[in-house]
C-alpha cells in the first residue's frame, strides 16, 4: 500500500485536475498539456505522452538509470532514492544554467507520481495501451481508470508457469490474443513429467504468452538465471520514454521490426539509428539514451543484468560502457 501522507496536492483547477508539488517542482495539467515549473524554469508537455511516460516510471519503480519523459523532464534512479530533474540531460539547459535536479526518497516521489496518475488519467484512457486500443488522454477531467494505472510489472521468481510463480496468460484469465498477433501459434510444448519432478520439468509457449500481453513497451521478467533476466515485451508505436542506460542492455528482436534512435546519454546528440528485424541482436551501451519505433506490434526480448554493482562500476570507470570489444 502506497503511503500518500507525503503527497502535496491542491484543490482541482477549472479543468478538474489537481495541481501537485514535489520539492521545488510544481505540476499542473489542463485539457491538453502538463505544465512543470521549477525554480529556474518551466516546461510544457502534451498530456498523452507525459502520462504514458509517468505510467512507465511508476510501474517500473524508476527502472534502470534515466527515464527521460522528453528532452527536458525525467528521473534518475539511485535505487532507494531518485532524482527528479529538468534539463539535467540537456546540454543547452545546462549551459544556460536553467537545469534543476532534486533528490527524493523512492517512496515519496513514487507516491506523488502515483497520485498524479490517479487524478490525471481519465476513465477512457489507458497509458499502457497502444494508440488504437485506448481512448483519449485529453479534455476536462472525466472519471478515473484505477485498474489501468495501478498495474504492476510482472516479475517471475524463476520462470513463468512454474508452480507458485507468475501464471500463464489465457482467455479465461483475461488475456485474449492481441489483434496484431492473431496469427501466432498458440500450441503448447509437449511436456512429459515423471512423478516427483513437477516443479522442474516445465516449458510454455513464450510467443503465445507475449501475443496475449495487454500492454505495450512494458518489459516483464519471464525467466531468471541469477542476475540475468529475460524481460520480453510487445512494442507498438513509440516507446513513451527515452531510456538513458546506466548499464549495458540488450535487445533481441523476436518478431517484426523496431527502429531505435540512439543519442548520447548526457547531451542528447544523435549517435546512431539501429534497425532491428526478426532474429537481430544488439547492445545498447551504458552511455546512451534510446527511443524505439515499432510500426507493427512486435515482440522484443529485453535482456537485463540486474546486478546492483553495475551502475557504480560503470560510473567509476571500473567497467566498460560496451559489453565486448573486438
Amino acid at each position: 500500500m502506497t503511503d500518500t501522507s507525503t503527497v502535496k496536492s491542491e484543490s482541482p483547477n477549472e479543468h478538474g485536475y489537481k495541481p501537485f508539488t514535489l520539492g521545488g517542482f510544481r505540476f499542473e495539467r489542463d485539457e491538453h498539456f502538463v505544465h512543470v515549473q521549477w525554480p529556474t524554469g518551466r516546461h510544457v508537455a502534451a498530456a498523452e505522452p507525459f502520462l504514458k511516460a509517468l505510467m512507465r516510471d511508476v510501474a517500473w519503480n524508476f527502472f534502470y538509470g534515466t527515464v527521460n519523459f522528453d528532452s527536458v523532464i525525467g528521473t534518475l534512479n539511485h535505487y532507494g532514492d531518485v532524482d527528479l530533474f529538468a534539463g539535467r540531460f540537456n546540454e543547452e539547459y545546462r549551459k544556460a544554467e536553467l537545469d534543476h535536479s532534486e533528490n527524493f526518497p523512492h517512496d515519496e516521489i513514487k507516491a506523488t507520481f502515483q497520485a498524479m496518475l490517479d487524478d490525471w488519467v481519465n476513465e477512457d484512457f489507458d497509458p499502457f495501451a497502444a494508440p488504437m486500443e485506448t481512448g483519449s488522454a485529453y479534455g476536462e477531467k472525466t472519471g478515473s481508470n484505477a485498474p489501468a494505472v495501478t498495474r504492476t510489472r510482472i516479475a517471475a521468481k524463476r520462470m513463468v508457469g512454474l508452480p507458485n510463480d507468475e501464471p500463464l496468460r489465457s482467455d479465461e484469465s483475461g488475456y485474449p490474443v492481441n489483434r496484431a498477433f492473431v496469427d501466432v501459434d498458440q500450441s503448447e510444448p509437449k511436456v512429459k513429467v515423471n512423478k516427483g519432478y513437477e516443479n522442474e520439468v516445465s516449458a510454455f509457449n513464450f510467443f503465445a504468452y507475449l501475443s496475449r500481453s495487454d500492454v505495450t513497451w512494458n518489459p516483464s521478467v519471464v525467466s531468471v538465471c541469477r542476475d540475468s533476466l529475460l524481460c520480453p515485451t510487445t512494442k507498438e508505436f513509440i516507446l513513451p520514454i527515452i531510456h538513458g542506460n546506466d548499464r549495458v542492455e540488450w535487445f533481441v528482436q523476436l518478431s517484426d521490426e523496431i527502429i531505435w534512435e540512439v543519442e548520447d546519454r548526457e547531451t542528447g546528440k544523435p549517435r546512431a539509428k539501429v534497425v532491428m528485424k526478426a532474429g537481430d541482436c544488439a547492445a545498447m551501451p551504458a552511455d546512451i539514451r534510446h527511443q524505439g519505433y515499432s510500426p507493427k506490434r512486435s515482440m522484443l526480448l529485453v535482456w537485463e543484468n540486474n546486478s546492483a554493482d553495475l551502475p557504480g562500476l560503470i560510473a567509476r570507470g571500473e567497467a566498460p560502457t560496451v559489453p565486448v570489444t573486438f
Binding site: 513429467v193 528482436q253 544523435p270 528485424k277 526478426a278
Partner: protein, 165 residues
C-alpha cells in the same frame, strides 16, 4: 480491419537490419543476427550472441543429438526455429560444482533417474534446472537461444558475427 502478419525469421529465411551510424562506432552495438550465426555454426556449438559481464545468450544450432550436459544453475532454452526434444535426468551424484558457471558436457550417459521429456517448437521456452542433466535432439536443423552464464564451452567470435562498418 487491418489483417496483420507477424514476421518471424528462421534458418531458411532471415533478413538483417543494422546500425546506421551518425556519430559512433557500429561495433559498440555488437549487432548480429541469431539465424545468421546459427546458419554458420556447427551442430551444438554454443556461440555467444549477447554478453553482459559473465552472463550470455548463446545461439545453438540444434541438429542431430547433443551430448549430455549438466548445469550448475538454471538455464533456459528458447526454441526460435524448428523442433527440439529435451530429455532431463536427475543424476545419482553431484556432477557439477553449484558455485560454478556455465553448463558442461558429459562423457557418455550419466547414471540417474529420468525426469521427463519436453518437445519444444518455435517460441517455446523450457527450464533446464540447476544440478540436473539434459540432452537435446533435433531431426532437422533448428535453433535454440540459451539464457546462461559463460562457461568453458561458450564460443565468442564477435568479429566474425557482428557488424563492423
Amino acid at each position: 480491419m487491418t489483417k496483420y502478419k507477424t514476421v518471424f525469421a528462421s534458418l531458411d529465411h532471415f533478413e538483417k537490419g543494422g546500425v546506421e551510424v551518425i556519430n559512433d562506432d557500429p561495433k559498440n552495438y555488437v549487432f548480429s543476427n541469431m539465424f545468421d550465426v546459427a546458419s554458420r555454426s556447427k551442430p551444438w556449438e554454443k556461440v555467444a550472441i549477447a554478453r553482459n559481464q559473465e552472463y550470455v545468450l548463446e545461439a545453438i544450432r540444434a541438429e542431430g543429438t547433443s551430448s549430455w550436459r549438466v548445469t550448475p544453475h538454471d538455464e533456459f532454452a528458447l526454441v526460435v526455429d524448428g523442433e527440439v526434444v529435451i530429455d532431463l535426468l536427475d543424476p545419482d551424484k553431484t556432477l557439477v560444482d553449484p558455485s560454478s558457471s556455465g553448463s558442461i558436457s558429459l562423457a557418455g550417459e550419466p547414471a540417474g533417474k529420468p525426469m521427463g521429456t519436453i518437445t519444444a517448437g518455435r517460441g517455446h521456452l523450457a527450464l533446464l534446472p540447476a544440478g540436473k542433466c539434459y540432452r537435446m535432439s533435433a531431426q532437422r536443423p533448428s535453433v535454440v537461444v540459451l539464457q546462461t552464464i559463460m562457461g568453458p564451452e561458450t564460443i565468442e567470435r564477435w568479429s566474425t558475427i557482428c557488424q563492423k562498418f
